[in-house]
Amino acid sequence: MSEEAVVTHHLRLDPEDVGEQDAESLLDAIKSDLRYEEVIHGCLNCGVCSGSCPSHRFFDYSPRIVVQTVLSGDAQAVKDMMDEYIWACAQCYTCAMRCPFHNSPGGLVMIMREVAVWRGMEAVHRLLKPYGRVLLKVLSIGNQLTPDMIQPDFFPDWGPKIPWSSTDLAIKRKAIPVYTLQVTTSAWRVSPETSYELYTIYEETGVFRLIEQIDPNLYEVVSDMVEDLRDMIESSR
């Protein structure tokens, strides 16, 4: 792809493009993202980013290689990287803090992840599978973590105190002396009006359409919840 081809930036990807996985098209989507010019200013291959990268210590992963590969313009190599490689990044932004060029390899990875998801790449289905509970919560009430998610079955490695956290949860939450926190299925009491507004945001930004494309089962559950809440709000007006 020539540099001239990148003439406009985009605010967001279109969920209707799920399945469009031509390598040049993916690289074009990355480079035309509104944030691309802000996260990449050039690279001298110095490796400072990788030298302080936590994921570099534990995975076959290097932010330097991500930046160099994208800058090389090798679309197929970029596509290969989006399938698994970039998902090792811990999104800590130590690389951004230390880069002498003020690049943000972590920010570049985030653009690449977004493109991978919005184009429905193969790895995404596998990678998002253990993420279903978070997605359900964030889509339906706007919280990402709720008290009832901390269960011994999910976190056996967190030790013998976790069963305490999930036993008599409603009473223990009631014993937190802040009214908004005395709930179990959301992090705090979220008003129906707030969820109603959030659904409009998800609808207008294509997020609901994306979920429908990449996880139809989850979408079905969420859309039922959305419909119920909308009926409740609209009938009360």
């Binding site: 605010l11 967001r12 990807l13 993202d33 509104l34 200013h41 050039g42 936590p54 210590r57 995975f59 811990a90 999104q91 800590c92 932004y93 951004a96 803090m97 002498p100 060029f101 985030m110 992840r113 977004e114 919005w118 990678l127 998002l128 993420y131 978070v134 964030v138 706007g142 990402q144 973590l145 709720t146 008290p147 901390i150 976190f155 490695d157 967190w158 030790g159 105190k161 008599d168 009473i171 939450r173 937190i176 002396p177 802040v178 009214y179 908004t180 992090a187 705090w188 008003s191 707030t194 507004e197 959030l198 409009t200 945001i201 998800y202 207008e204 930004t205 997020v207 994306l210 979920i211």
Partner: protein, 411 residues
């Protein structure tokens, strides 16, 4: 010395490559423009509304990384809660509110807030820039219409909101799109004058808070884990103080511990992340465990002989706290208590460890630390257990705070 034409060509071509294509360091010689100045220009043009910090917010000025002044509001604050804190570390927000009550400060905690959704975004990519910006503006506008200034509890929300503020200021097309969506939900495009993290609030009030101390913590060796999304994501306006590590590290959290009289010990991996990783804590757990143990907990204990790891964010507290027990399988027999700066300060100031600091939700062993601080947690535990029984029998719960009107609709 003569040089060959080939090497000249290579050198020339390399130099051109660097100067024209790669090396944009020149633009970094001057500090990036202050987004607050650009925001003021947009406000003057009628392009956006700004949530201003007023005298009612009783701001205190501090200096940031670039030497700019940042005003931290201390009063009349709208709690932008953290889902990870409220869901998993409930003593985090309750300790903040407990101090606000102690200091007689006005605040609003209510139900018309969503999470920032940035944890999910960083972990899964299942959102986009417009959605993140719209969620941020919706929450900001809610604070705006109540007349309270947003105080951000979570480090990721803080970093994300600073990114969204900057991008909204820089890009008209993003503003236009977010404005269109806000119109659909009956709201307006508003941007706060400053994005403020609770640790900054704690920092500027540290001497007033330290004056509330009833337990001597001078024998406690603390180690600080600065949160990545607090100080690395948008570093320009992070608070630095020449009296804290010579101005070479962020000042919040370390400064409150020093004000309380605790020892703050250095350790070599202070700059490392905690291992949370956003998706890793759920889907690459072996990374989160290994990194938090090997690069943080082990170093804090072995290098610094730490009594407690002090955090300033949600995911870090969870990761460092929850991943110690499993380490025993590989001989990592550490028992380092983990808690947020505000929880440690609340304990020092005599807050009930169970009812207010909610320390019972933390999994790493904290009992020895509380004994060393002189906190009578055993009595507190007995009272808490009796209180749970009373709640089961139908007693109404005690409240630090109840929203004035639960479903206050203003727009």
């Amino acid at each position: 010395m003569a040089t060959s034409p080939i090497s000249d060509k290579v050198r020339t071509s390399g130099w051109e490559f660097i100067t024209k294509t790669v090396d944009k360091r020149a633009i970094m010689k001057a500090a990036p423009k202050d987004p607050r100045e650009e925001l003021a220009e947009l406000e003057a043009k009628g392009e956006v509304k700004v949530i201003h910090i007023t005298e009612e917010n009783r701001p205190i000025e501090v200096e940031t990384l670039l030497g700019r002044t940042k005003r931290i509001p201390t009063n009349k604050l709208w709690h932008h809660k953290s889902c990870g804190q409220c869901g998993n570390i409930p003593g985090y927000p309750t300790s903040i509110m407990w101090f606000m009550n102690k200091l007689g400060l006005e605040y609003l905690d209510e139900t018309h807030q969503t999470s920032c959704t940035a944890w999910n975004y960083h972990g899964s990519g299942t959102s986009n820039l417009v959605a993140l910006a719209a969620v941020a503006v919706r929450n900001w506008h809610r604070a705006y219409e109540t007349g309270y200034f947003p105080l951000i509890h979570c480090g990721t929300s803080f970093g994300n909101y600073k990114e969204m503020r900057n991008l909204l200021i820089e890009h008209k097309d993003l503003r236009d799109e977010v404005r269109r969506i806000m119109n659909k939900v009956g709201r307006e495009l508003v941007i706060p004058e400053e994005i403020v993290h609770y640790s900054e609030w704690l920092h500027v009030l540290r001497h007033q808070i330290a004056a509330l101390k009833i337990h001597d913590v001078s024998s406690i060796i603390t180690t600080v884990h600065p949160a990545c999304h607090v100080w690395k994501l948008v570093p320009e306006d992070v608070i630095y103080d020449p009296n804290i590590y010579g101005g070479q590290r962020p000042a919040p959290t370390t400064a409150i511990l020093l004000a309380l009289g605790a020892q703050v010990a250095d350790y070599s991996t202070w700059y490392d992340c905690c291992g949370f990783g956003f998706r890793h804590i759920l889907t690459e757990r072996e990374f989160s465990r290994s990194f938090s143990l090997e690069r943080k907990i082990k170093v804090m204990v072995e290098e610094a002989n730490s009594d407690v790891a002090i955090t300033q964010d949600t995911g870090c507290t969870t990761t460092l706290d929850k991943n110690q027990w499993i380490g025993k399988a590989h001989g990592y027999n550490y028992e380092l208590p983990v808690m947020a700066d505000v929880q440690f300060a609340a304990l020092a100031a005599g807050a009930d460890p169970y009812k207010v600091v909610q320390i019972q939700w933390h999994t790493s062993a904290w009992e020895k630390l509380l004994d060393k601080m002189g906190v009578d947690w055993r009595t507190s535990k007995a009272e808490y257990e009796a209180y749970l029984e009373e709640l089961k029998s139908g007693r109404e719960p005690e409240q630090l705070y109840v929203p004035p009107v639960e479903n206050l609709n203003l727009h």
